[in-house]
Symmetry: C2
Subunit: 422 residues, 2 copies
């Protein structure tokens, strides 16, 4: 750690200006006049510092710096700042595979874990905040399904050769600290007594204990954890919740892939779907003050359905398009018969759907009884009302996690979601 | 390739003596008198050159050199000689974990892909040859179960932390050429028309075609291939058939781990079990000339059963012993309830058993209709009789591969094995 930290210094708004002036690769992006720079720290995530930099000539960019601990917890929870290396690597790879939905990286400075990237200008906001505000994004499912289909397909063995695959897997093994963090906060801490766990107490005390005592649930969570730790299926974003997406009505941009590594595809799709379900179940907490959320809830359900169904369609379409390529998994010579090719794809997508539901549910649970919660619920100020929403989310998540093999379509999930007992 | 080959030269019996004389790390193992060295090439494997070196003072060692193609096929099938690096690495790791059953590595010379290791003196012979000769090895199951339990457990996430695991996985991703070879010869070629495939023709022409047309079989093989390519469960030997084991009545030594990488444990256990089943089914072809193999076949069945059952017992025992260690997969805090701990282990071992049967069966099939066959069958000179044995092996392998989820115990397998229709 000590050696890797040589040369590292955490910047602030003032020293960042000095850094920009001394770094032509960055300053050249801002135009000639470096006197009138405005810098504003806006990081509301859990891990890093994020600055918006705007020059008087109208140039702009975002600077993100990783620090060697978790920002929202403090130095008591160290985490390698080298996560910025993997974030930059993946932003570039995702940008190559899906440029319409990923901001460009302009500059990466590894010794100080600093990324300069495109500033996603207003009215871009974090998707989670838009969902809390009740804003519909008509292209969200279309865009996110496109992003997931392309980034997951092209980094899997359906497209890649074994040598390409193993080379990339090896590189991302370097991001083990972030993987370990996920293993801990998603798959372990919620199922045991842990220092940083919290929940809406006292209302959910019993819920939290019930989870810690649920043997079947813990057995299923072990299967998911094993898949997360051992299965290098594709380059996954690793943290694809609604806080990692910035949106306007016609733009969707995926950011913050510092948790990326070669893992199970369902972990990404599940993160998005699970967080959309959390949003759906939090709407009753935001429905007061004359805001009726009935229609909005229907839009969320439709978005969940479209996200999976469009993903499925686009993913299969990419697979068919590249069936004669270098992908090692299903050689065209072996699976050439059309009916077999169809069965192979159906099975692949069914397994992926079950993974998606399982991981999505695990991500829901951890957001209610684990260390880091979601604003969807946290912003419901009435604790009793919040606990009511959270309790229903926990019950639903436990049910679909344990019974995920029983579901064949996303409509069965959204249907069950509308029929949770009050 | 060109650069990696700088400084490489294939040795022969004469130039090997010059190499030994010029290499103190090797010559010092042979005593002072280097005039009376005898060198004999004995490689009967498919890939490499192997020399036994004996000095007049009684010193001895084995020198193994990898060449940049597959020996049994020729330069038309190139294969990185850097496999020797992974072989040496794994021999040392296996030796550390299970010294009783792995020969010591004395010296490794990476530029010329040369390993000097302990000479396993007579009466050590290759296990496969012993099985063909009808020799019983009363400690075989005990020793092989010990080797597999220790090497697989201690390199899995049941024992290892995430950081140790990912570091090792990354290292072994470098052995991708050998992984690719296995993917091809085990999971792809037998299921399509392929240049190097062959079988006992014309008797098995129909069998080979039936395999290429068996949609259910190919669907299941795809699942196994996916596990092989994506699941980094433990450091596996990667080629643990009966030709990779040297035995006497009281010694069992595992050699030739050049195919090693982080893969599914069932691939190793299955390789051994599958090859013991091949041995069992070849015995009828060796039973003539007054040799009755009835009792020997019972010993093989018993060895198959003991191998799995002892492995299972030892593996669980290691797991219990280290339940409070650094292993990331099943944290003691989460799975502390005794009945849950029991269920977790039962499920783990059941999944591993199904993997074992599936991979074992896939290895059987490829030895009959793929590129490289086994001496168990090849040494049956009467082609019609050989084909009869092979046909039964194919039918049995296809059946247990497709139906593997239906089997709970190894006794169900050995029982089915005794009841194959003639």
């Amino acid at each position: 750690m000590a050696l890797a930290d040589e040369g590292f210094r955490a910047l602030d708004e003032k020293s960042l200006i000095d850094y920009i002036r001394a770094t032509p690769a960055v300053s050249s992006l801002l135009g000639d006049d470096l006197e009138g720079l405005t810098v504003k720290e806006v990081g509301d995530g859990n891990l890093n510092f994020v600055y918006i930099v705007i020059s008087s000539s109208g140039g702009s960019l975002v600077i993100k710096q990783a620090i060697p601990f978790i920002r929202c917890i403090g130095e008591s929870w160290p985490m390698t700042k080298d996560r910025a290396y993997f974030e930059a690597l993946t932003l570039r790879e995702h940008g190559r595979l899906c440029p319409a939905h990923v901001p460009e990286v302009y500059h990466f400075d590894r010794p100080i874990s600093l990324i300069a990237m495109r500033y996603l200008k207003p009215p871009h906001i974090i998707l989670r905040k838009g969902l809390i505000a009740g804003i519909e994004y008509p292209l969200l499912a279309e865009h996110m399904s496109e992003f997931m289909a392309r980034t997951l397909f092209f980094t899997s063995l359906l497209y890649r050769s074994t040598s390409e695959h193993k080379r990339e897997v090896a590189e991302y093994c370097g991001n083990f600290e972030l993987c370990r963090h996920t293993e801990r906060v998603v798959f372990s801490d919620p199922y045991k007594i842990s220092q940083y766990n919290h929940w809406t107490s006292p209302y959910l005390d019993q819920d939290a204990e019930t989870i810690r005592e649920d043997d079947i649930l813990k057995l299923e969570v072990a299967s998911l954890k094993s898949k997360f730790s051992e299965r290098a299926q594709a380059l996954i974003h690793g943290d694809l919740h609604t806080g990692s997406v910035m949106v306007t009505t016609d733009s969707t941009q995926v950011i913050d892939p510092e948790f990326s590594f070669y893992g199970p595809m369902g972990f990404d799709i599940g993160a998005l779907v699970g967080n959309l379900i959390l949003s759906f179940l939090s709407q009753d907490g935001h429905a007061n003050n004359g805001k009726d959320r009935t229609a909005y809830k229907q839009w969320i359900l439709k978005t969940i359905e479209d996200t999976w169904n469009l993903f499925r369609k686009k993913f299969i379409s990419l697979w068919n398009e590249h069936r004669d390529g270098n992908g090692e998994a299903y050689l065209a010579d072996v699976y050439k018969k059309p009916e077999l090719w169809f069965i192979v794809q159906e099975k692949y997508m069914k397994d992926l759907f079950h993974d998606t539901i399982g991981f999505g549910a695990a991500k829901m649970i951890r957001r209610i009884v684990g260390v880091v919660h979601v604003e969807d619920f946290e912003s419901i100020t009435d604790a009793k009302r919040r606990a009511y929403c959270e309790h229903r989310a926990l019950e639903f998540a436990k049910m679909i996690l344990k019974e995920r093999q029983r579901y064949d379509t996303i409509e069965q999930i959204t249907s069950a979601l509308q029929n949770i007992p009050s």
